[in-house]
Assembly symmetry: C2
Homo-oligomer: 495 residues x 2
């Protein structure tokens, strides 16, 4: 649709004078090949012979001859004054010209160890929107996004006054207006007091975790992670070949006592643990900070989903209690605005931020200026708070509906998710394998997230799955849960 009645620009064509082949022939071959390979499509209009000749620096006659030939061979259609168009009868043209003999291919396998591919999750179909019962985490629910407001902010951020912010290469700088709002309006909600030199914007929480891991685990330092924990972090640590010690959670989250010595970095999501949604009690946070101080451990706090907690008032972030500067705090707008936004931030000691800023500068310079400025408006005009309110209300309702459905269909054993958020962490019905369950549910239009990717020792996840309600309508939840329960019974019976 983007390409309706496409006018092909002259720049699309290139002739190479170094090639010993008549220019007219070169041009003709180029067009024929492009048509067969679908790079030029039926109905598209060719440049005028004058324009193309000028661009290629050839006589106009060269182009008109080539065009004439292509009309004769049915590749082009001449429409009098309106010019030449790609034929819509390509299929009648038979097979394309044999392309050049392929040279021996370069042996890439010897250069790539597949490590990146190996770390990758493949846990959801790209057409997930077509599944009626999509218990998928972290995707968008169009019904909850204030699209008009975002649009208004984006347009405003395109105004003259913001042109610099939009178009300049900021090197390693961030949008001061966005940083200011994070400091003044977001961090206080988490009890965090920070100055500009303690903030770095990132392309979402994933990018923040990557930056932090690369910097801190660079020299083989050992890190502890929560088991189960965030799969995106597993991916990163696997790829970086990090020395990882998984620490099993108890009902209060990560137990500091179980953190072995010689650990130099601890990754945790205390406010709202991923995937169990547990909240770490204050006493334990204090123990964790004390331990960090004693052993000089860096604590990376993924302040996951705090914004959409709806179960009572939120507790302050771990970073709010950190007086030594050992805590690196990660926040994100991806969940609370929308994931495609790719915008998050790190709050940490200025020394670390300076290092991370320099590295981000080499890695990607900075998040696109327009996205930063648009977010600044979205915050400053109050849209962010209104959207959060809407999300909290919707998620609170879905949480209630899901709890009821889980009870009704006898699936609530070991359910955790009371702290709000947008998902439940569940034991599979009758302990059936979660991969099997997920696979067999797809044909029934149900998507769930099997437990293995959440565990460093995957088998430990075979009896669990995540049931998220961030992108499913409340009205579809009960039927979805019923199908899960029923298939669970069925599969259990099978054994």
């Amino acid at each position: 649709m983007l390409q309706a009645a496409m006018q092909i620009p002259p720049e699309t064509f290139l002739i190479d004078r170094a090639v010993a082949q008549p220019l007219q022939l070169q041009l003709r071959r180029q067009i024929v090949l492009a048509v067969h390979e679908g790079r030029l499509r039926p109905g598209e209009r060719m440049p005028s012979s004058r324009a193309l000749a000028a661009h290629l620096g050839v006589g106009r006659i060269t182009v008109t001859q080539a065009y004439g030939d292509l009309v004769a061979t049915d590749y082009l259609i001449a429409r009098g004054r309106s010019g030449y168009f790609i034929s819509d009868r390509i299929e009648d043209l038979g097979p394309g010209p044999a392309t050049l003999q392929e040279a021996p291919r370069f042996d890439w396998s010897s250069r790539l160890d597949g490590r990146n591919l190996a770390a990758r999750r493949k846990d959801r179909p790209t057409d997930w929107r077509n599944y009626p019962y999509r218990f998928l985490y972290g995707q968008t629910d169009d019904r909850l996004i204030d699209h008009a407001a975002w649009r208004e902010c984006a347009v405003r951020a395109l105004g003259r006054r913001d042109l610099g912010a939009l178009s300049d290469d900021q090197y390693d700088g961030d949008d001061p207006e966005l940083v200011d709002f994070i400091i003044r309006h977001l961090l206080p909600r988490r009890g965090i007091k920070a100055r500009a030199q303690e903030i770095l914007l990132t392309l979402g929480a994933q990018n923040a975790l990557w930056l932090i891991s690369e910097i801190l685990l660079d020299r083989g330092a050992a890190c502890a992670i929560e088991e189960p924990g965030y799969p995106g972090l597993h991916e990163i640590l696997t790829t970086l070949r990090a020395n990882v010690v998984p620490v099993a959670l108890d009902s209060d989250g990560l137990p500091p006592a179980s953190i072995p010595d010689d650990i130099s970095v601890v990754f945790t999501s205390p406010s709202h643990q991923c995937p169990t949604n547990r909240t770490m009690p204050r006493e334990r946070r204090e123990d964790l900070l004390r331990l960090a101080a004693e052993r000089e451990i860096v604590i990376v706090e993924d302040d996951y989903e705090f914004e959409i907690s709806f179960a009572g008032s939120t507790s302050p972030a771990l970073k709010a209690m950190d007086r030594s500067g050992a805590v690196i705090h990660i926040g994100s707008f991806s969940k609370s605005v929308f994931p495609g936004l790719r915008l998050g931030y790190i709050v940490a000691d200025p020394t670390f931020i300076a290092e991370a800023r320099a590295r981000r500068g080499m890695m990607l310079r900075h998040p696109p200026g327009h996205v930063q400025r648009t977010m600044a408006y979205f915050l400053s005009l109050g849209h962010y708070d209104r959207q959060l309110k809407r999300m909290r209300e919707a998620f609170a309702e879905r949480h209630k509906v899901t709890s009821l459905a889980l009870m009704r269909h006898d699936m609530n054993r070991g359910a955790t998710g009371k702290a709000g958020g947008s998902s439940f962490w569940l034991a599979t019905p009758h302990g059936v394998d979660s991969d099997l369950l997920a696979r067999e549910l797809r044909p029934q239009g149900v998507l769930i997230e099997p437990g293995r990717p959440f565990f460093r020792a995957p088998e430990a996840g075979s009896g669990f799955f995540r049931l998220a309600y961030s992108s499913i309508a409340a009205s579809d939840i009960d039927e979805g849960v019923r199908r899960i329960a029923e298939l669970g019974r069925m599969l259990a019976g099978r054994d």
Copy 2:
């Protein structure tokens, strides 16, 4: 200005029930501290006592008492029905309350080796726009950007139909419409035929170089780079502690014969070398590809600035001649649209692209959906070509004006830059040190880029500098060059 008559949202405040301190006192202290630290600013309006009480889950009386107290102590002003506002007489309040005793700071220096900071360039002031004679490379010239067109495309990309592209987390996917345009309309200009599985979008060329370097140099592989070459690449290779062999250029660019054995990756910018603007002749490209085939070398082609070459028709990219798949091609929209856009792409063998895509997914997921879709419109509606035309014309003129100025002021010795682009690479007048020259020029409102960052062996750059005209008006060029020449004479005389 964003914050005119700011209404402070209730969510800005957080009280901690675990702290043994009356809620009313906690709230009051929080406001006082925020005022002194500038997080709450004069004239801003406090939440209504009802809204704040509801948010904090405290009695309304608690809030009204706190507000009353703060009015009495001049932190707040009551304006009858319109509510409570932050006092505009903060300075009269005297010093803020002594903040808590700081805990011993965490020792970050022991964790960070400063490597990232070390690699960083500090070669331009952030207020570069205020310098009348800014011979700076790669910044935006607002006069050349079709801002209205970009705005139109961005608005269109915010339309209902594009909501998914805008808001979804695409995991490791790219915008199919943008990829389609790159394949059909950009790559053919470079003589490159590619399929979707051979394309990966990145956050600009810098991000592409980072991704490629991390993947290919991961296991200590040695790489060859052009000397002089692109400073951004130096930064990356230094940070990654890569094994780097600089290869001195001759008048035709990188001489394949000088590439030592045991090199597994060669970085080059054949179409338009950075910083010398030289173009590698076809014969040499063939030699380079032959060498790559023999020794199984990966060639990374930075197809730098081809779009804005105005000196005759462009020669095809090295990738266009690559039949074995050993060439990784990097393109960018940052120079041709604007740098703040942060959008570029890699064209390479599907095996490599799959690996790079997985890694990009872990590093940052994907470039923001809205930016991708906006670019797709900018291309498909022909704005891109119109903007390039405008840029080429402007740069051609500035190039002419600069050449004349260089001759007039006797500064054209060893000047290279005939292939177009947006800069000249020059020997400093009378061989004065380029760092000294650049430093002393700043007070005169002139910005140039000294040569050292372009060399792996920095001292080799002391006699060179880059004179870019991408962000300076033609009318300012002669006077700028005159000042450089004059200061050069002056400094030379000094010795």
